[in-house]
């Protein structure tokens, strides 16, 4: 795997810049900057329970982040992770009706298989439309996201609605199909470990297999890949459906590990946030794990901030967005050239200094 020092520098600069902007914004609004940051930290990592919440919130972002990252390596954007996740969740809720009698291990395996397949097939629709009919995958996946949302709505109001018939949600998964909590009462569930295993698997696939190499080659230079004898269209399709499968798995794990049911507005936009996670993760599985944890920490921390300081928990989204925007800006050629002209060390020192001043 190639290390790109400029990318790490950009990330650091982006984090520092975001911190500065947040500081300025909060001061302007008359809110105590130190208490916000302190509560962010406490909310994310203050005690074991909080740490587990960080991991819980990071879990779906990790799966979907890996999905987007995988597609990116083949040169594609998978904007459909949101819909693929929903289909994975829905399929899990559906299969849950039939597996109550099975052993726990088998039930969970089925959940994984079903959610992978659902995401795979949903992405496959978009892949088919692209290959056979040249439909732009950004548009088709966006449309399919909406179809998925309405499918969920229809299902939870209709065929999959809970037996009690009170709320628009599915029946809870049978206990055997539920991912066990590893440190009760904390919500840290087996699915989180599974996510790490999947991250490792993705890494092995991309960097230690021939198939993964072909995929990366296709994304790195499709023309050269074609000259090298790689079937570029096939690689793109494979990347896309694998990406969809991972996003589908995200949905299944979230149902099995946390919610047990599927309902309207099941996803607060995991599929879209995943794009930000993939970017911050610098397209490496390790990076995506760290980025997902970072985003999860912000989510967990922000709910603590809401309780104590009173600032809405969507502050997390603000911070996440600002970090990504800065990173996107700093990764451009224009800024990269600027950075390499000013010595990077000097720039870093400068910004750290400014950040220091700001906080006092």
């Amino acid at each position: 795997m190639t290390a790109r020092p400029t990318s790490l520098v950009s990330l650091l600069l982006a984090l520092i810049s975001a911190a500065i902007v947040i500081t300025i914004g909060l001061s302007f609004a008359g809110i105590s900057v130190s208490s916000v940051f302190a509560n962010l930290w406490l909310g994310a990592a203050g005690d074991a329970y909080r740490l587990s919440e960080t991991a819980v919130k990071a879990c779906p972002l990790l799966f979907t982040g890996l999905a987007v990252m995988l597609a990116l390596h083949a040169g594609l954007w998978n904007i459909g992770a949101e819909g693929q996740l929903l289909l994975g969740a829905l399929a899990t809720a559906w299969v849950g009706q039939y597996i109550a009698a099975l052993s726990s291990a088998l039930a969970i395996v089925i959940v994984v298989a079903v959610s992978l397949s659902a995401g795979f097939l949903w992405a496959g629709c978009a892949a088919y439309l692209k290959q056979k009919h040249n439909v732009n995958e950004v548009i088709s996946t966006l449309m399919l996201n909406f179809v998925a949302v309405y499918l969920v709505s229809y299902s939870v109001h209709g065929p999959l609605m809970e037996v009690a018939g009170q709320y628009p949600q599915t029946n809870p998964l049978p206990v055997t199909a539920t991912l066990p909590r590893l440190f009760p009462p904390a919500r840290f569930h087996l699915g989180i470990l599974l996510a790490l295993v999947v991250a490792l698997t993705v890494w092995i696939f991309l960097f230690r297999t021939k198939a993964g190499f072909r995929l990366r080659a296709t994304g790195a230079n499709p023309t050269a890949a074609r000259f090298a004898g790689i079937a570029v269209e096939r690689e793109v399709t494979i990347a896309f459906v694998l990406s969809g499968a991972l996003a589908g798995l995200a949905g299944g794990i979230e149902v099995s590990g946390i919610t047990q049911r599927v309902y309207e507005k099941f996803s607060p936009g995991y599929g879209y946030t995943a794009i930000a996670v993939a970017l911050v993760g610098q397209r490496s599985p390790v990076g995506v794990v760290l980025a997902a944890l970072f985003f999860g920490a912000l989510d967990a921390g922000a709910s603590a901030v809401q309780r104590t300081v009173g600032v809405s928990s969507v502050l997390a989204s603000v911070i996440q967005a600002i970090v990504v925007l800065f990173l996107a800006a700093y990764s451009t050629d224009t800024i990269q050239r600027l950075i390499s002209r000013i010595s990077t060390r000097f720039a870093l020192l400068l910004l750290v200094g400014v950040a220091f001043l700001c906080s006092h």
């Binding site: 439309l129 088709s140 970017l279």
Partner: protein, 312 residues
């Protein structure tokens, strides 16, 4: 038979709801049409709508004037769009990443500010809204009078913008230059057209229109602000642009179609229909994909759509 009777008697109400639902979609889609004709895909339109909605409500709350609210909403949308322009055109950052991030930012900022300004109350904030204006004479027609001609001013504005945009794009030299930028930016540059300036202008227009569309949501469609109230309309607008084949008049039909679907969902039960309303809501999206497949719509897309242009 019963269905038809119910449809006719409800027809007026349905038509009215359609126009109301279609208006924000139309405004947003017109903005995105101009932008895509210039070769840019702005997924951040959703964020622009949300910002416009919030800015509109807040201003109206503080000033009591929905008109002022709309103006501030338009300006906020403009600022957001210029941020997009600065990053994607000025620095050539990736359009998808910036668009998605701006949506995230808008959701976050509006949520934080809403709570910060209005506090946590059980009830949603309420503001005075635009009053419907009945067009003289036309508004008194039986059945279709109220349906078509008793609307808030923004509805009329949106519809009036359609021929205006068509005129701009196809009858003005400046509009042709904008299209050239979206078709063949290199050729446009050799003709002395600045790709950067044109695209920035297009995005600015979209910002204004999107901001107005957003403030319509909180100042006419409803009378309040709810977090995430844009509810995916920015993405729907993207579908409408394609459905309408990058024409303002096509955008009108697309907006009416999507608006009708939205309106229909509420009337379905009254119409005694068995169709689950979700399938009605799904229909426009499925049809958009179908349109792309069957009508070979991809060939009417601006040739350089989505490709960043770098001057050598």
């Amino acid at each position: 038979m019963d269905f038809l009777v119910t449809l006719l008697t409800n027809g007026g109400a349905l038509l009215h709801s359609t126009l109301v639902a279609a208006t924000p979609l139309l405004l947003a889609a017109l903005g995105e049409t101009i932008v895509q004709r210039a070769g840019v895909i702005n997924i951040g339109l959703e964020g622009i709508l949300l910002i416009g909605a919030f800015a509109g409500v807040t201003t109206c709350y503080m000033s009591g004037s929905p008109l002022l609210g709309m103006l501030v909403g338009a300006l906020s949308g403009l600022l957001f769009a210029l941020l997009f322009a600065g990053l994607t055109i000025g620095l050539s950052a990736d359009q998808i990443v910036v668009g998605v991030s701006l949506n995230l930012l808008a959701a976050g900022i509006t949520g934080v500010l809403y709570r910060g300004i209005f506090g946590v109350t059980g009830q949603a904030v309420q503001v005075t809204t635009f009053a419907p204006i009945s067009l003289p004479f036309l508004g008194t027609f039986p059945v279709f009078g109220p349906a078509l001609f008793q609307h808030t001013a923004l509805v009329y504005l949106a519809i009036a913008l359609v021929p205006l945009c068509t005129f701009f794009l196809f009858q003005l030299r400046a509009g042709l230059q904008l299209q050239a930028v979206g078709e063949h930016p290199h050729a446009a540059e050799t003709l002395g057209i600045s790709v950067r300036k044109v695209r920035t202008f297009a995005l600015a227009m979209e910002g204004l229109l999107g901001g107005i569309a957003g403030s319509y949501l909180s100042l006419a469609y409803s009378n309040t602000f709810i977090e995430g109230m844009s509810a995916g309309r920015g993405f729907i607008a993207l579908a409408i642009v394609i459905f309408g084949r990058w024409n303002p008049s096509g955008a009108l039909w697309g907006a009416l179609f999507f608006g009708a679907a939205t309106a229909l969902q509420f009337h379905l039960q009254a119409l005694g229909s068995e169709i689950p309303y979700q399938f009605v809501l799904m229909l426009p999206y499925v049809l958009t994909i179908l349109a792309l497949v069957l009508l070979k719509t991809h060939t009417s897309a601006p040739a350089a759509l989505g490709q960043p242009y770098n001057r050598e």
